[in-house]
Symmetry: C3
Subunit: 206 residues, 3 copies
């Protein structure tokens, strides 16, 4: 049932709250003078779960270089890594892990690496589509179109992005290089996107 | 039930015909010599409903600058504004308004502004997905990719485009600036697209 | 029931195997020295079905220039044309033909031309969505975005790409020019994509 993962980074101990609504997000804005644009100057803290989807890594046959690269990239933009997991490409357990991670009170971002290609075992987009409530196609499109400038193989990524219960779920490809290139595309909007999920105003006023 | 909107422009008095097929569209081609490429030279008249989706505007707390900008852009390309409405972000009434507007005999285009972002109340894409019969992803992709050249925040727009009952439905973002930038992307194909919906030949022969 | 098509190219005589899993794909890698990157140097043979979707062509009122152009483009990249068909725009028979073609043991690629636009009879994307098991949005996005550089009408193409039973299904627009321009975008990844479907490693490690 539970995904077999060897967490490489771990913090916190939240219980998963099913589909109950999350507690209101603690914006770092209390005590600010009225009228100050809080979300721009003090963004919501990103609290991320990193999930490496790879049969080989989950069996210990390959080192999880992509998950490590992804965690570092998140730390670099000021995110907190709540948990990191390595799981196989099995569809159902992955879907369940995405659901449980997104529903945690202490998580507002779930990023996967791997399982987005054309191989028979590449199930990450389907596992994600099964749990998101609202699609965020612009992030997936932008990652593909921008990385297409570096390799035509970007076309083959089937990754999806979407929102569940106030948490953004993002699929990245499976190599450290592709993780870095794709993450660089969305990094400029990630803090703002997460702040909007928490209810900050100005969502579609770009 | 009915969306609470204060129409700023209003024309016509069509009753909504549910899912009955529309009357054949009156192409402005009668009496043309045989063989003249009517759709290129005398395009189908665009008859549009403009919908501003905004809690603040619907309560009168903010002026509807986006809806006004959008109506003007449509007039500029020769469209007729059949009706303009301002509604809250509530999902169900919005979905019902989109359905009723698309099913009107005197309407072939419905354009929304607002409600496409990441905030918990941003429901416009979901309301649109609930009523379209055929997706038109190319329009939404093009608007995001082209406006991405001006701001990375374009990635955050979740707008969708699609077809219902011979009417094109288009979601635009919620600021006047984003409305202008996004509309400029699709304006060159809008008259042709509407003509195709009415049955003009050459749909996929671009 | 069966689509009325006049095959212009025909090879093989496979019976359609319903939803039974395909026999394992015969990769051209046997006997290769261990470590040789087989998929790059000896790609899986593409075995394609070409489907022209056009009321006019299916009635013999127009020559099928698009299907002929598409078959030639496939031959040019080393593909084998298993079958070519011309069918009307009717949704159900097209959907059934896509399903049956994708499920053939001797087919790993199905490419359609036509039926992707805004006209009331343009049903190809809907017929495709009805049968694919996994979407491949990156191919459709890339074709639209790249051909957008040549004509804004690329936005109007509603084509989708996806995977069913180890077979890639690709929708192309309906004119020979659009077929050539769109095909040129995906040609560089097509052999690799088909190899991945057959189980070659490295699917999302671009």
């Amino acid at each position: 049932m539970g995904p077999s993962g060897s967490p490489t980074v771990r913090e916190g101990s939240a219980t998963v709250a099913g589909r109950e609504p999350k507690r209101s997000e603690p914006l770092l804005t209390r005590g600010l003078p009225l009228g100050l644009k809080a979300t721009k100057q003090m963004p919501t803290q990103i609290r991320a779960v990193v999930i490496t989807v790879s049969d080989a890594c989950s069996r210990g046959e390959r080192e999880d270089a992509s998950g490590a690269a992804l965690a570092q990239l998140l730390l670099d933009i000021g995110a907190k890594i709540v948990e990191a997991k390595i799981v196989s490409d099995d569809l159902e357990p992955l879907s369940e892990l995405l659901r449980a991670s997104a529903d945690r009170d202490d998580v507002n971002l779930v990023v996967t690496t791997g399982g987005t290609g054309f191989s028979p075992r590449d199930n990450t987009p389907e596992a994600t589509l099964a749990v998101i409530e609202r699609a965020a196609p612009g992030l997936a499109e932008a990652m593909r179109i921008e990385t297409l400038k570096q390799t035509p193989m970007a076309m083959i990524s089937r990754g999806v992005c979407g929102i569940r219960n106030g948490t953004l779920i993002i699929n990245l490809p499976g190599s450290p290089k592709a993780v870095r290139e794709s993450f660089a595309v969305i990094a400029p909007v990630l803090n703002h996107a997460i702040a909007l999920l928490a209810g900050s105003p100005g969502g579609d006023l770009h």
